[in-house]
């Protein structure tokens, strides 16, 4: 039954009345104004672009923040009077970045990159863009909810942005917002208005994620075109589907953690607070447990890592297969490993809490479950490498970023095996080793997945190509730079250098790293500057890039390339194409590729 049929089958309406929910199945063309086309759009492709560009704005802001705090770490004695003129006294005093500003920068950098860039910017963009196009649907199950999802994200962005401008500064207690720092206004300047705004922004963000996630799940399960069985779906869709499931099940738990935090902050309850002395004053709160927040936070926090990583994994699988001109190796194993990761994601949260006084026996169970994640991860890496093995590799920019992702995932994943051990974690927790691990495996790797996706699907998004020279420069400097920034941090962490310190030069044990810190900071600035190449390339090419003339520029099998070069709202002008085979018939029977829409021949076996 087609989507139209599902949406209207139970309708025995005498006169069909239009409401916002019911009119998207058709292919009639609305008269679109600027507002309905570019602002309050219900077209999944436009919403995807809105998510992408908002995510890019946040990536620039979050990246700039890291440049600022790296400036402090690399050059603790230098003075920057010009920065004071630019940013004002809260941020820079006497030419030096203030301690309060440093913590605010670290906190906001983390929050923004994890949630606004790598969750909203990554799965918001590609789930919106690819799900309907790759499963053969005219739009999402509920385009209206989809629009709301973006605007809640936009509202969250505005509130978070506004927290940068309040007098006491943005929240500065770390992106994990552990109480009591996050619960008590008197704990630090950032815990006052900044924290209130942080909580409001995050609550709005959770709503946005849930609205989006519900829609992605409903769309994947209900709106597939004829012949698109679950096992014919491209791996991108599988990955985005599991991502949405993780989000829908774990964000509400974070939300309940936030609710209790709000009560502690504003209504004098003691869920998380007990036995506190602030500035010599004894607080009346009794019997609360700060660890309780950590349980609730990390029950989301750990799945969140996979919410960030899975979309990148899915897109990389698709891009590797397309550009190696080979079927993905082990398609079912790829789905199975995604599923295993999604399940395990919920069972490992306490590995963030090994040193909180957790029962060592319980800890050992979490060690076992954590290390089990290595199994599906290794399956994925093996399959990516075997997909590349003896392929006719085309090194497009998207392909390079996809290979870069695999490289980073291996390097970062290996240190995960170290950190997953509760015994090793006693030494390594809260050191630069952790920073190095999660930046490589989750941060930079997912960023590479995002870049791979943008370079690969840009022709579909804007009907133009990106400039290749800029793209290759962008890739090489970013890849080498990422390793140069984060590799040395492993050594610092092993030497016991703790994270979140304002100035290491006053510590006898860490003085030796002064030059290494300066080196890391310098590379960080170069890598940040290189991202401007990408930004220029992106925006310039929207208007001036080489036009796409070939409907299927990469020779792909999937459905999005059967739509017109610049698809309208509804994606396909005529009937939605029917699917006859899986998405990975590359190099089959002497043919370069066989699109999913081609019926299975008499002498072919079924997939």
């Amino acid at each position: 039954m087609s989507n139209e049929a599902v949406l209207h089958a139970p309708t025995t309406t005498i006169t069909h009345h239009h409401d916002a929910h019911a009119d998207h199945g058709h292919e009639h063309h609305h008269h679109e104004t600027f507002i309905t086309k570019y602002v309050f759009s219900q077209d999944h492709k436009m919403i995807a672009k809105q998510f992408l560009i908002t995510g890019m704005v946040w990536a620039v802001l979050g990246g700039l923040m890291s440049v600022l705090f790296r400036l402090q770490l690399g050059y603790p004695d230098a003075k920057f009077p010009w920065l004071q003129d630019l940013l004002g006294k809260f941020w820079v005093e006497d030419g030096k970045i203030t301690a309060q500003a440093y913590y605010a920068l670290v906190t906001t950098h983390g929050t923004v990159l994890v949630f606004f860039v790598l969750t909203a910017g990554l799965s918001g963009t590609f789930a919106n863009f690819l799900i309907p196009l790759q499963i053969g649907a005219r739009d999402m199950a509920s385009p209206f909810m989809n629009m709301l999802s973006y605007w809640f994200f936009f509202a969250a962005s505005c509130v978070m942005l506004s927290s940068l401008f309040v007098e006491t500064g943005p929240f500065s207690g770390g992106w994990t917002a552990y109480p009591p720092l996050s619960a008590l206004g008197q704990a630090s300047p950032g815990s006052k208005t900044g924290m209130d705004l942080w909580l409001i922004a995050m609550a709005l963000f959770v709503v946005s994620s849930l609205l989006g996630g519900l829609n992605y799940i409903a769309t994947v399960l209900n709106m597939r075109t004829k012949g698109m069985s679950m096992t014919r779906m491209p791996l991108t869709i599988w990955a985005l589907f599991f991502t949405a499931v993780l989000g829908v099940l774990s964000f509400p738990v974070l939300f309940s953690g936030f609710i209790l935090l709000i009560f502690d902050r504003n209504f004098g309850t003691s869920f998380y607070l007990s036995d506190l002395y602030v500035n010599g004053v004894t607080l009346p709160n009794e019997g609360g447990s700060a660890i309780l927040f950590q349980h609730l936070f990390w029950f989301l926090g750990h799945p969140e890592v996979y919410i960030i990583l899975l979309p990148a994994m899915g897109m990389v699988s698709e891009i590797l297969s397309t550009n190696a001109r080979k079927p993905i190796f082990g398609y079912i194993a790829m789905i199975g490993s995604l599923f295993a990761i999604a399940i395990l994601a919920f069972l490992v949260w306490a590995h963030h809490m090994f040193v909180t006084g957790l029962n060592p026996f319980l800890g050992s169970i979490f060690v076992l479950l954590t290390l089990l994640i290595a199994v599906p991860s290794a399956i994925k890496v093996f399959n990516w490498l075997t997909t590349l093995w003896r392929g006719n590799i085309r090194f497009t920019p998207g392909m390079l970023f996809a290979i870069g992702f695999v490289s980073l995932f291996i390097s970062g994943g290996l240190t995960g095996i170290w950190l997953g051990n509760s015994a090793l974690d006693i030494h390594l927790h809260d050191t630069y080793f952790v920073i190095a691990h999660f930046h490589i495996v989750m941060g930079v790797a997912s960023m590479f997945g995002m870049f791979a996706g943008v370079y690969h699907w840009y022709p579909k998004m804007y009907g133009r190509y990106l400039n290749n020279t800029l793209a290759y420069t962008h890739f090489w400097i970013t890849l080498i730079g990422a390793y140069l920034i984060f590799w040395p941090m492993h050594y610092q962490g092993l030497a016991g250098m703790p994270r979140r310190y304002y100035d290491y030069s006053i510590w006898e044990s860490f003085k030796q790293f002064a030059e290494l810190n300066r080196f890391i900071s310098t590379v960080a600035m170069v890598v940040f500057a290189t991202q401007l190449l990408f930004l220029f390339n992106f925006f310039y090419s929207i208007f001036k890039g080489r036009k796409v003339t070939n409907q299927n520029p990469w020779g792909s099998t999937t459905l999005e390339w059967t739509a017109p070069i610049r698809p309208g709202h509804g994606n396909w002008p005529g009937e939605i194409p029917e699917v006859h085979r899986w998405a990975y018939d590359y190099g089959k029977d002497g043919r370069d590729f066989v699109p999913q829409t081609e019926p299975v021949g008499a002498n072919e076996s079924h997939h």
């Binding site: 039954m1 005498i14 929910h21 509920s142 399960l221 099940l249």
Partner: protein, 191 residues
């Protein structure tokens, strides 16, 4: 609209499906809160007290409202419009009554000297506010949905016999009812 042959098995309407996923999501939120409750309960300084009587009455009210909702849906399907309107309105009224009784329950606790919020409050009592409060917000959402359905039933000149919107409201209403029964048993049993 394209004409389609519907010889394939009938699939769930996407909006209904979305509701089911959303209900799963809401369950996770309350699972988070109730597990936090259990974790907290196993630590020192936990106050034990009996639930107020009003909560028993509110449980009866919301269970009754599920029955009226069921009758309303049946009436809609049988195209008995006035019966449908009456029972939808009755359901909404019972929903409001539920909210009132919950609030009375909080007052009852306060008058017994159990401090819910503020300094000196015990987490055992404080937990009731976010848990029951969030549930009341979900009921309020249901009441708004009922009112919208009701106004549509009165206001529309062209009659719609599409059962999907009312079925979605009904499913959600039964869900908040079941959710309350779970929370009630949980709070009454584990104290």
């Amino acid at each position: 609209m394209t004409t389609v042959s519907s010889n394939e098995p009938k699939r769930l309407h996407p909006h209904k499906f979305t509701l089911w996923v959303a209900m799963g999501s809401i369950c996770m939120m309350f699972a988070g809160l109730t597990s936090a409750y259990i974790v907290k309960r196993n630590q020192a300084n936990w106050l034990e007290f009996a639930l107020p009587k009003s909560f028993y009455y509110s449980t009866a009210a919301i269970m009754l409202s599920s029955a009226t909702m069921y009758i309303a849906l049946k009436a809609f399907k049988a195209r008995e419009r006035s019966r449908y309107k009456n029972f939808i309105a009755l359901t909404a009224v019972l929903g409001v009554l539920f909210g009132v009784l919950q609030t009375l329950g909080f007052n009852e606790l306060t008058s017994q000297g159990i401090k819910l919020l503020g300094f000196g409050s015990n987490a055992a009592a404080s937990f009731l506010v976010p848990i029951i409060g969030l549930h009341m917000l979900h009921v309020a959402g249901g009441i708004i949905a009922l009112l919208v359905t009701l106004f549509r039933a009165f206001g529309r000149k062209i009659k719609s016999y599409n059962t999907t919107p009312i079925e979605i409201v009904a499913t959600y209403w039964h869900f908040v009812d079941l959710l309350w029964i779970y929370l009630f048993i949980f709070l009454a049993w584990i104290k």
